[in-house]
Symmetry: C2
Subunit: 576 residues, 2 copies
């Protein structure tokens, strides 16, 4: 401790909302350089190295080979995959000294596909799994929660390369399992949830979620059958409407009832008997398109589902003037009689007869609007949002909603990138085919921050032994434990020795703050009590062990703690 | 080999000038993504990890603690040290989504000083040494020679923090010594040379040079006393002029003699009896300033020395119109009679009487120009360039010039950065003082490329065991050596097993190309000969060892090769 670079702080810096991050700052693990940009001090670097070690072992066990790809890419590479234009401001664009457009990479599908195009020729060179642990930059609009949502971060990104979908399925499943081992070994509880493919494209994606109120994602979980999904893609059983005759359309005055709630109250009907209109402008293939979305009044629109249904790269709310330009009216809109717009109806709408919809006129609604008879949707799809209490799509039980932090993601990419980069191979049958790709990410800093958030109390951090910067924190009066320290080091124990000229109280406070799993105290008092006091950071009690055998006892305790973590690795849920 | 990502190429890609780089490309170690931007494939990553391991051990032995600092910095940080404006286009400037100016870091003095300002408070927290191994970007105008001069690169950069100059001297010397161990352990011959401090500022710098024709630096070496320096700063003993009476100035016609050579020939005098004028425009503190440099005709101007003498951030040749605007004449310029310019004379000029100088008039020169009597230099300094054959400044022996690649550099920074960032500490005497800093860099990719350049033959690479991707390359017909492979792996030997369905000839070619130090061949033929053929890559002969004891023999050979490298670590030269 007397030689450590970095020092602990007594107070949490101002403006810190996430407790774990506040402790990482106070304990001297990290320091912020700018919004979302951090330096890792020696304690954090040690923990990160342990996380990296676990990642390397588990990727290696999946057959992964480590590579290192560049951070700065020429823009052409991203243009070729369509992501230069298709990605928003989170992709940092810059120009080099010769005015060539470059980007700071957020992910490496393009570069991998380019490598494959040169380095893979035959089916005999497949399957492969390559990965790297590397710096990335994503210019988040709202960096927050410290390392949980940083702009610069270190990522383990892996890419699977296969001959066909069957091979991809196999590697995807293997990595899904490896991710459970990774988070388990790091001591972080995480669940796998079905997820949106987002800017990656491809056919299937899962996210690994650390369930915590600090998360910004919402996850729907069914405790009965185990279905879990990010709200962005969560399906649910929609309440069926009753069967009844279609009645004639009737225009009524509903002045002031410009919300579903007000309308249902005014007409004394359930919200499920109304149609809700949402006006959006979608960017599809670089062009803006007005989208008129219709869901039943008892449901909300899910914008991710809608974007996927219409193939949009981006969505924004329509302005009032844009809404009126297509013949609709804010607060009183309906798909009946509008022209030149893309009408998207939730798949519950066609089966719901005689809905109350807007009349596209201020203060008026239409009774008995029926799909097919009164309007025709261009797209019918599931675009409604699941929420707390929605019925599970698999078993019908009520689902619950939880907040979560995405600590890992896996994507089945298919051939999108390999086709763009000519990453093909000659198959056994002599035919040239595109390599089938998958992509698998884990952010190291975010993972570390989630571990800190999960394992802490009011006094500080409580590291799982597998990712602790040191296994042991040795406290003594001044430097009175030099010999024990040397013995521990000789025995290969990672020990942080507080040899400073500080009070025991200060040293205990810092030990609790830094959070090594085992604290050893050697003082005149402890020797009177029989030797060295050994205390687990997570427990309040302690025991005294004779100084002579202390090293062996400590090594055994470390080994027990390691076994405990391995034994607690969860069974994979939501296996794809 | 059947599972390795990457494959060997039979031909060197077009346009490759550096043989070692060509082999790295052919052997499947690296691939270029853009000018000066490379991906490292699994073989290279393995070698890089070994280099990193050596760096970590040697930095650790110096008391270094590993940290990890960001790649993207806010521009303010660089403005504060004066390097945002003071650094040229090699510093990549960009804007984030909120239009804040950022840079891609080439080095981290600013960030370290900022960390110190927060994390160091007392003299008891000094000295310290922190380091990182991290991605950097320097937008070189002429990226060339593959990894030797890349734009994106991984660097080990270390920063020493001390109470005073004595502490800095101690750490500087320790790291100077550690660098000899590092290059020695990597099998790279390197010499330490005195160097320019460049954009780092500070008082003293050394570069570690790998002497090779592919280098772009020129180093002056004295074989008699051991003096070595980069030409940019190399001193030398200048031939003394004879003592003689000052004679009156005389203007003569010298039409057509607008070079020193032509002038000396025309007047039948040695070049040392002439004065050479060089016209430059220097950027000093953001302003352009016309500089009139004068060296004796038998010497050349050294622009680095000149820039240091006048404190210039940049220098460019003056245009003819700029030269005439100050009253001089290209080809016939002299400091006599010019006005409003900064006259800098080499320190050999004042002691050289009766020189022939230009008359600032086309076709005319002045005889018998004498410093002090006919003109007065604003600055007198050593601004002449040492060259092959110049006399050593220490012992007077003739020096030789060699080309070199800078593989490492160390700088005494002093307090420039700590003062800019308020990185001070409270000394024992209660006084607040700035931390005294040093900075120490080694580029990993360049180091790897130099090792490849040094250790190769026409068939491929010949890795030193310490940085080889694999110690052993195992060749057999098809997969006939599976058992031996398993035994080697179990014994902890790093072995690349060529189990492909290729001819033995192809396998031998690839083994030579990839360059593992030891090749083992197990075939029906080798078994007839008595077992496994063991051959060192660097030797032509081989021996056959029985299959049973083969693993032990191989392990012993590996250990011998490791010892050989450790025994060959050179004695530090040029110790500061």
């Amino acid at each position: 401790m007397s030689g450590l670079f970095g020092r602990t702080l007594r107070e949490v810096p101002a403006g810190i909302e996430v407790a774990g991050h506040g402790l990482l700052l106070r304990a001297g693990f990290v320091r912020q350089l700018a919004a979302g940009i951090f330096s890792y001090l020696p304690l954090a670097k040690r923990s990160l190295d342990k996380v990296s070690g676990i990642l390397r072992e588990e990727m290696g066990a999946c057959g992964g080979q480590e590579v290192s790809m560049p951070v700065v890419h020429p823009a052409e590479v991203w243009e070729r995959s369509g992501r230069y234009e298709g990605t928003g401001a989170e992709l940092v664009r810059l120009r080099d000294r010769r005015d060539r457009a470059m980007v700071l990479a957020m992910t490496h599908e393009e570069v991998v596909a380019g490598l494959v195009a040169e380095k893979v020729g035959s089916y005999q060179q497949l399957p492969r799994l390559v990965y790297q642990i590397q710096t990335k930059f994503r210019d988040d609009a709202r960096p927050r929660a410290g390392l949980i949502r940083a702009r610069e971060f270190t990522m383990k990104d892996a890419y699977s390369l296969d001959r066909n979908e069957t091979g991809l399925d196999r590697q995807y499943r293997a990595i899904h399992r490896a991710y459970f081992r990774i988070f388990g070994r790091c001591g972080l509880p995480a669940v796998s949830v079905g997820a949106d493919v987002g800017i990656m494209g491809g056919s299937l994606a899962h996210e690994f979620m650390y369930l915590s109120p600090v998360g910004e994602d919402t996850i729907l979980l069914c405790d009965t059958c185990g279905y879990t999904a990010n709200r962005q893609v969560a399906r649910f059983r929609k309440p069926q409407a009753g069967v009844e005759e279609q009645r004639p359309v009737e225009k009524i005055s509903t002045s002031g009832a410009n919300t579903i709630e007000a309308l249902a109250r005014l007409l004394e009907i359930p919200e499920s008997r109304t149609a809700k209109a949402v006006f959006l402008v979608a960017t599809v293939g670089g062009e803006e398109r007005f989208v008129f979305a219709v869901v039943r009044g008892d449901m909300d629109l899910n914008e991710t589902k809608l974007a996927n249904a219409v193939g949009a790269d981006g969505l924004r709310p329509a302005r009032a003037d844009e809404i009126r330009a297509v013949g609709a009216e804010p607060g009183y809109g309906s798909p009946v009689g509008v022209a030149g717009v893309l009408v998207v109806a939730d798949d519950a709408v066609p089966g719901s007869p005689n809905l109350v919809a807007g009349a596209n006129q201020d203060g008026f609604h239409l009774l008995n609007v029926n799909h097919a008879r009164d309007f025709e949707a261009d797209v019918i799809a599931d675009v409604a949002a699941a929420r707390e209490g929605s019925a599970c799509p698999e078993c019908g039980a009520q689902m619950r909603a939880e907040r979560g932090v995405e600590v890992g993601n896996i994507f089945k990419l298919g051939t999108r990138y390999s086709e763009a980069f000519g990453a093909g191979y000659l198959d056994r049958d002599g035919e040239r085919k595109p390599v089938v790709m998958g992509s698998y990410g884990i952010g190291l800093g975010r993972l570390l921050a989630c571990i800190a958030e999960e394992h802490r109390d009011e006094d500080g951090l409580i590291w799982p032994i597998s990712v602790a910067p040191y296994a042991v924190h040795l406290v003594s009066a001044d430097d009175g434990a030099d010999r024990l320290y040397e013995e521990l080091i000789s025995a290969g124990v990672e020990v942080l020795y507080d040899d400073r000229r500080e009070s025991l109280g200060t040293k205990f406070k810092d030990a609790d703050l830094i959070g090594a799993p085992i604290r050893l105290t050697l003082t005149t008092r402890s020797i009177e009590d029989g030797g060295v006091e050994m205390k687990l950071r997570r427990e309040t009690g302690s025991r005294v062990v004779p100084v002579e055998g202390a090293v062996a006892v400590v090594k055994q305790r470390i080994s027990d703690l390691e076994d405990e973590i391995l034994a607690s690795i969860p069974v994979p849920t939501n296996e794809p």
